[in-house]
Every structure is written in structure tokens, then in C-alpha cells.
């Protein structure tokens, strides 16, 4: 069971940030929950397409992290109020209108943290 209720985790997602890139898609996050560490990315799922950690990049505080490089020994500091961009590459996943997004990450204290959000995309 998640330690933090879903509605609170959802607040991390910045609504309207879903963007199509040349070879992928990006979303923005803002930590409004409290200071913390991200100790891993399990996957990102957009609609029916799952992105493995190797295809996930997190850019925050001017540093780029590949999903597979983030671990308990090498966590990403994600401070209160800090923003970050998550970039998924290698697969088409967007659809016109509402898109379902699931980001599953790890935190050293809370374990699995699953963020579920909906966001719209218009080409």
C-alpha cells in the first residue's frame, strides 16, 4: 500500500505539461509534497505504452539522469518546490485528447510511489 494517498502524489504532476518531442514525449513534475529522494524509476506508462527505465530521462537542477542510473546508491535529490522534466523516448504513445499517464518511481523511505494523471494532447 502506498504511504502517501494518490490525490497527494497526483499534485506532483504539472497539468498541461504533456508534450510531443521529435523522438518521444515529455512531462513536467514539481515537488510540492516535501523534500525527498528518488531512488529509482520502475517505468512510465502512457496509455498502453510502457517505457522501461533505459528509455526514461529525468532532467532536474540542470542535470540529466537516465532511469537506469538512478538507484538507492545514486538517488536524485528532489527538493521541495523543485521542478523536473521527464522525457520518454523510443516509442509513439500519444493520442489526441486525454492521455493516461502512470509514473512509478521509488523513494528510500516510502518504497514504490505511483503517480497517475490524465493530460490532454492536441497536435
Amino acid at each position: 500500500m502506498a504511504i502517501v494517498p494518490e490525490f497527494l502524489i497526483k499534485r506532483i504532476y504539472q497539468k498541461g505539461s504533456l508534450k510531443k518531442l521529435e523522438n518521444g514525449v515529455s512531462v513536467n513534475l514539481k515537488n510540492i509534497l516535501g523534500p525527498g529522494l528518488i531512488s529509482g524509476f520502475n517505468y512510465v506508462k502512457i496509455n498502453d505504452v510502457t517505457f522501461e527505465p533505459k528509455d526514461v530521462k529525468f532532467i532536474t537542477n540542470n542535470t540529466e539522469y537516465i532511469g537506469t542510473d538512478v538507484s538507492e546508491d545514486n538517488p536524485v535529490v528532489f527538493r521541495l518546490g523543485q521542478t523536473g522534466t521527464l522525457i520518454m523516448t523510443g516509442q509513439d504513445c500519444l493520442q489526441e485528447g486525454t492521455n493516461k499517464i502512470i509514473i512509478e518511481a521509488l523513494n528510500p523511505e516510502a518504497g514504490i510511489v505511483q503517480l497517475k494523471a490524465d493530460d490532454t494532447y492536441q497536435s
Partner: protein
Amino acid sequence: MEVTFDKYSLIIDGERMFIKSGAYHYFRTPGERMARDRFQKMKSGGYNAVDIYFNWNYHSPAPDKYDFTGIKDVRKILQAAKDCGLYIIARPGPFINGEVNAGGLPFWLLKDEEVIPRNRIGTEYKYSPKYMEYIAQWYDQIIPVINEFDNVILFQIENEYATDSMEEDYMRELYKMARERGVKCPIFHNDAYFAGLWADCVDIYALDLYPYINPNQNWKQDNFCFDTLDNVEEIFRGAKEDSPPFIAEMQSGWFDKWDGSGYKHIRDALGDEHINIMTKTALSQGVTLFNHYMTVGGTNWGNLACDEVYTSYEFTAPIDEFGVMQSNFYKAKEINYFVDAFGFTKTEPKDFDFYQENIYAKMRHDLENDCDWLFIRNMNPQETDIQLPFDKQIKLRPYDMKICPINLKLKGCEIEFSDLEIFTRLQNENEDAVFFIADDKANIYIKNGEIISGNKKNFEHLTFKNENKTTQFVFISKQLADKSWVLDNKIIFNADYVLPNGAIALEKNSEIAYFDLKHKFAKKHYVVNELKPTTKKEILKISSVDFCSPEIDVDYDYSNWQKVEDKTDSLSCGMYDEFVWYKAKLPNTLTEITLSARHLFAVYINGKEVLNRNSYKIEKLQDVPETISIPLNKTILKNEINELTVLVQNLGFDKGFSGDTNNPRGLVHFETTPQIPIKFYVNEKLSIERDKKWESENPYLTKITTNFDVDIKDNVFFGKYISFEDFNCRRATIFLNGIKIGRYIKRTHVQDKFYLINEFLKPHNKLEVVVWEKDRNIKSKWGFKSDIKNVKILIGTFKQYQLFK
């Protein structure tokens, strides 16, 4: 007592009050005498309130049954707090967390299938009328007792609660239930997510803050952990504009777990700097109500612990499990005395244009003292020079934080600025004496241009006069400040501690100094003559070794045990004790049994141990289930019908913060190959607790008995322990005069000293240690019997003080 509030502070009988509270668990520090001791120490450290969880489970063994007698008499606890001059923050749950078994919910409640504990499954809200009915029963019991005490200033409903959809029905109903039962004071909830949750359902919004929850974390390096605290005023104002900022649980320590690194590690990691930063930063954010969680450490005796925590709940609290003040107590005392000296109940944030890397700075204007306070913190790992924008430079030690007065008017002078910290102030109409903690790197700047260096010896003093008014500055070292105690506008120096009734506690002969404005300084010599030397631990002489698990023996009569109807887990069977026994018959046609049990268990077939396992594992706050298969053969199943015994030790139910309180314990799963139905019979407790007939031939559980005497005197305070540092067995349960006071599991390395709880000590004591698992390499019964002869149990005294009245 009338308790109101505005956006600044609580107002008690018309007077603004800064609430400096400390958390204390009466169930973990049992009995009125221990409560009085701890409350007096809190009061002497400048706390003016005690936060008390009321543990429903501790009082209610069965529906409609409540026990408020003996050490469970909460009236005596509340009266002790009142007698010591402490306000009470009452937190009767129904859910409390506190790392207690099932979060404080009664076991019988968890068994009831109509009950959904906390009206939620996971984080999904699900209202349970039956649960609310039982809460009403609990509130009917506890609230009338709380209402008898007019020093109760705040009342909490639920604790750290959230659901996905945040329906308000439950919280609003709890609020209504409390009011209907006569609760008059403001009601609050403690929001663990600092997200403004339930602010509209209560009178005062409150939250908890624990920046350090991972002992592997280096908070000094990861100093971002204070981000929330550094912005907490904004959270309060966003949640509820008209109520005072209240940190209902403010970290002053942290609990250790079975898989933790021990309390010494946590105490060393937190140091004194952490409580200093927490408390002063809270002040810088306008907080006027805080509760140090915990202020008094305790012991998980009996079945108090949830599965995460071991016997000691010392929590690295300012007053430790033994009742001994630790260095973070002295730091808390400094801040509490300082707050008492200046009030701090009505301040506003003030613009302060300043930036320096890793320096936190905040300015507040004090509307009552008409001065400003600069709160400044250094998170650099080295001493740092800080150039302030108003032409003053200060030096701050690494991880230090100071509160500096600006334009502070005293009776005989005005301080323009000081980075020499004020310890306390005594005053009357025309005179005040301000005590500073000497620091050779700090200065006091007087409005007339004079600069006073903080490089001073103990009791050096200066006098300032302004017309007919006088101010005296007195300097004391940090070491002396730790041993200085404010009592009724008087200061007593050089005492280990001083109780509010004036009793002075000393470890050794001492010269005590006194100061008050009328008589100035006086001295008196005290001779300590009641204490015995404590340096050596003694080996307790073993008086008997007995084998005490007849349940394992073949042909043991279990016909009067309860028959298991359906599920074997302990809740389903209504067995709530730590130890649960299972008996069954197995035919010799089986080739394998498969089982899962929480948490430690052993399997015996025909009186012989076939498996002894510690299945306890928690990862990311969740139980990790383990299922084990045991292959069987004709050597094990040597009879046509064979006798199976399973003993399961449940380390506690989930505390209910992130998991469900009713997660199963005991024998959770059992199946055979080939699959056949097995009829189980079940009973709880170790046989020595259950009845007098416990003698046995098998050595798997062995009871070691020792006796020792304790010299109990009214004028001596002591904390005693037994030590298992030279103990050669792997698991043991410890009983002092028949009361379970500890659980030892060698492989965890987290605890080998156990507090001999003063409340349970008598002049002549019996200590029984039931050893369950001996050395891993010893397999034969003879080996077990031989091994036990070499067991060493030590007894020692941690601290002792003579009290002079």
C-alpha cells in the same frame, strides 16, 4: 480554564501562552511514580505541557471491557501532570500510531469482520458504522476522564489520517463525538503530509515534521531535509489563517527498528544540533505551539510493540528510557528557558534581504517586546563567517543555529545586536539579570556603542544602569548552562538536575550556587552519601534452569485448547498474545508441509525440532511474506499418526500508518503434500505465563531463573539494566517479577541491554529468561542442555542520583 486562540498563539484564561510540549507514553513508562519523575524532569527543562496518547488497546482486552486500574489508571497520570504544573495535550485516537501494536486499536476490534479499521482499506475510504459504534464506546470511556482535568488545553482526533478521496464524514463525526461528550478545548488533527489536510474539520490546524527518518541518511549532508520546516509558516497560513502555527509532532529523536542500526547510532547522528535546528527554525516560522516527539523515551514491555520496533523505545529522546537526561535535553532546556524569558507569542515575519550559500536566515518582529529577532543557521560543514546586511559580521559553527536579538530593550540598557545567545532572564519591576552562554567568537553590541566580547569566565558579570533601573549581564559556560536550572525566578547552578519542588539531584559531592535578584549569589556544599559504586556490572547467579515447553512433548494433553474452525492466523483464532501454539496430527503419508508464519516460528514433529526460523522481514515499510516447505520422510514421520507442534512468535501487528493493522499474524498459511485437511488446536502465551504446570523433558524452551535485590530509597533515583552482551543464546524473552519486559534477538544486534523498569522492581526480584533458540550449531538435546549452563546474564546501574530536598 478557558482556552481560545488567534493566529499567533493559544490564549489561556486571557493570557497568551507559548506551548512547549513533550510527548510521553504512560503505557511505555508505566505507573504514577515514573510519570511523576518524568513530568518533574520535563517541567524542570522548561516544558509547560505534556502530550499524551491514550492507547485504546492497552485498556480494552475485549468488547465492553475496559481496565483503568493500577498502572492503567490514567487519572493518576493526568493528576501527576497537573501537580507538576504541566498542561495536557490529549490524543485519544482512536488510532494513535506511536509504533504501538495495531496503532492502538484493540485486537478484538481487528477480528470483527464488520469493522473496517480507520474507515479505510489501503488509502481508499470505506465507512464502517460498526467501527464508529466501537469508537463511541471508547470515547465514552476515555473522554469523561480527560474532562475531569482542567489543564487539558488541546484535544486531537485521529492521527496522520488521509484517504484518496478525502471524504470528511469520519473526521467531522469524530469532532462531533468529542464535543457531544463535553470536550471544551480546541480540537485539532495531526497532518502527517503537511498538506493542509482536515484543516476545515478542526479548530486548529496542526502537522508533524520529521526531516530525519532514515538512519542511513546524513542529514548534515542532505540538508534539504529541512525544506518543509523552512517554509512551514506558509503551509500553516495556507491551511488555516486564523489558527496559531502548531507542530503537533516535532522531531526530537527517532525510533529504531529490528533491522535498524541501534539507538547509539541515531543519537550520534542527530547530536544536539538537530533539536537545536528543529526548534529554533520552528520559532523562526512563527510556531507558538510545538510538541517534541518524543521527550521521554519508553519501553515496549508486554505486548506493546508493533512489529517494527524492539523492546527499547528510547527514541533518542531528551529524557531517555531510563529517565536520564541526555545532551539534547540540555539543548531543549536552553531554548525553553529562552522562550520563557521573552514570550515569543506574538511575532510577525519581517523582510530580510540576505543570501549566503547554505545559510538560512529569517527575521521576525516581536510585537510584545518591540524588538526584532534574527534566526540564523549555518549548514556548511565548516565554521562560516556571515556578513549581515546591517553591518555586523558573525561566525557560526557548522550546523549551529542562533537566535539574535536586535534592538532589545532591557531595564538598564538596550542591546543593539547580539550573537551571544541568551540562556535566561530573571526580572522584577526595576531590575533584570540576563544570563548569556559565553562564546569567545560572539559579541554583544550595546546601543551606546559598547561592544562586549563573549569571551568570559563563569559568573563574570557587568552592570548597566538607566535612571533607577538596572540590568546585569551574567556569563556562564555551556557546560555550566547544562547544569543550571531556573526555578521560581531563581537559578540553581551546578546541579545534575533540580525538580520543580526544589529537590536537587547529584551524582557526586558538589558545591551548588544560587542566584536571585534579591539575594544575588549564595553557595552551599552537598555531600552525596547514599550511592553505591556503579562502575562494575555483576554476573547474576543462576538459581535454576528448567525446561518449560511441555506443549512440544509427545502426548501433551491439548484437548482443552481451542479448535481452529477455519483460518489459522491468530486474529481469526482470537489469539492476540505474542506467542501462539498450534497442535495437530499428521499421517505418515505426507511428503511435505508448506507454511508461512509471522514472524518467528519453530516446527516440532513428535517432540523434535525440524525447523526454527526467523521469518521477519520488512522492506519499504511493508511485510515481506515468506513461505517455507519442509520435506518429510519416515525418519521424521516415524509413527502412523504423528504429532505436529508449531510455535509462532508474533512481533506485533502492523502499526497502521502505511499498512493495515489487521494484516494476519501467527500461522498464516499451512498446507500438506498430498493435500489433506488438517485439524488444528490453538492456544496462546508461553506456558510459564499461562499456568503453573510447565515442567517438560524437552529443552527447546528453557527458563533460566535468577534473583537479585535492589535497594529502593525515596532519596535515590536510579536506572538499572540487565545485559545480554555475553549471552550465548540467540533468542530470549525476559520476565521481571512475572512481567514481560523484553525480547532479545541476537542476530539483529540492536539491543542487548534491557531496562529494569523501576515500576516493576521490588526489594527482592525474580528475573526469568525464557530461551527459545540456542546456538545454531547445537542440534542435540544434550547439546542444548549443556549449552545453557554457560549462559551469562549481567546486571548494572546506568545512572544514579541522590536527591536533596
